[in-house]
């Protein structure tokens, strides 16, 4: 499988590395050249520096032949727009976008975009940890 990952922060770099470890091909896009340092020295894929909103940058990352596209920049709106561009313009079969704002993540999910909301996940996990603690305290009392 060939995957294009946009945003080489903690999330993007880590996803790119695991895909490589699983034997897949990966190209990574990031606006900052320093982000390349987050990938291992022996990273076999291409690293393209530039704004992912530009189609020339997406095309240099060979988006046309991508089986999957990961939008994981630190901008929610950038992720939502490039994910739709990947899906609607380049017909990438599987597209996933990170969206930190729970309400935008929910709305675009309803519109058919696969969105992942780390904030929502954090809220749910912290709530459930607190509920477990409350239940435990009630039992002890």
């Amino acid at each position: 499988m060939f995957v294009v990952v946009v945003g080489c922060g903690r999330v993007g770099a880590s996803i790119a590395q695991s895909l490589i470890d699983d034997g897949h091909d990966v190209n990574v896009i990031d606006q900052n050249a320093e982000a390349l340092g987050r990938l291992g020295d022996d990273f076999p894929g291409h690293f393209i520096q530039g704004p992912a909103l530009e189609t020339t940058v997406l095309e240099r990352a060979e988006i046309e032949r991508a089986d999957a596209f990961v939008a994981a920049t630190n901008g929610d709106n950038t992720n939502i727009v490039i994910a739709q561009v990947a899906r609607d313009r380049y017909q990438v079969p599987f597209v996933i976008a990170r969206v930190l704002d729970p309400s935008r993540a929910k709305f675009y999910a309803e519109q058919g975009l696969t969105t992942i909301c780390p904030t929502r996940t954090a809220i749910e996990m912290m709530e459930s940890a607190l509920r477990a603690f409350v239940a435990e305290s009630a039992e002890d009392a």
Binding site: L53, T55, V81, R89, S103
Partner: protein, 219 residues
């Protein structure tokens, strides 16, 4: 009419002023605190501080009852999201968006955000209009109608040179609107006589350029 303007820079603030003068109701949303303070001093309760790509901010501004949403921030991805949220989430009938980088125009088109306004494109069209480098110039696109307003120079020895508008077999899907000669523009009539050096403005469906060029430029 009620207009929600997102982006309180020069464009947003001037659109707000113009709409207010015309007697309309406006809200103007700006997220930069210092810029917001300036806007608040002028627009008072009509200025709102917040990120206009957040649903709760748009909701608090009453976007659901807006007749038009105007997305004029300095970021194209934000303007696209504002356009989509106001149209698809709040059901706003009219969306106008600013394109900051003309290379992003194709994303607005792909995602159906129209009409759009792009300063760079407008300046280029004006330069072409004032100092024509080509005999055919795109002056303006009516995106919803899918029609272009074109300006074409009449070239010496072409079919149009010395003919009336009515004599020319203007191709279907196009229409001559006006003729500019010696800095005087006139609405074109069938008996309007054309001569080399005239600037003709036509409205046409996309793809008629080469037919029109053949008539007016003879190639």
């Amino acid at each position: 009419m009620y207009a929600v303007i997102v982006g309180g820079g020069k464009a947003g603030a001037n659109v707000a002023r113009a709409l207010l003068r015309m007697g309309h109701e406006v809200s103007i949303i700006e997220h930069r605190p210092t810029r917001f303070a300036t806007l608040e001093a002028e627009f008072e309760h009509m200025a709102r501080c917040g990120d206009g790509t957040e649903l709760f901010v748009l909701e608090a501004a009453g976007t659901a009852r807006a007749d038009v949403c105007i997305a004029v921030t300095g970021d194209d991805e934000d303007n696209i999201i504002i356009g989509q949220l106001s149209r698809d989430y709040f059901g706003v009938a009219n969306v106008v968006a600013r394109v900051n980088d003309p290379r992003n125009q194709e994303h607005f088109d792909l995602l159906g955000i129209a009409p759009t306004v792009c300063a760079t494109e407008s300046i280029l069209a004006l330069i072409e209009h004032e100092v024509p480098q080509h005999s055919l110039v795109h002056l303006f696109s009516l995106r919803r109608e899918n029609l272009d307003i074109l300006e074409i120079g009449v070239v010496e020895g072409s079919r149009a040179d010395g003919a009336t508008v009515g004599e020319l077999s203007i191709p279907d899907g196009s229409l001559v609107i006006s003729v500019l000669r010696n800095r005087v523009g006139r609405v074109a009539r069938p008996d309007t006589l054309l001569a080399a050096g005239d600037q003709v403005v036509a409205i046409a469906e996309p793809g008629r350029e080469s037919d029109l060029m053949e008539i007016f430029a003879g190639d």
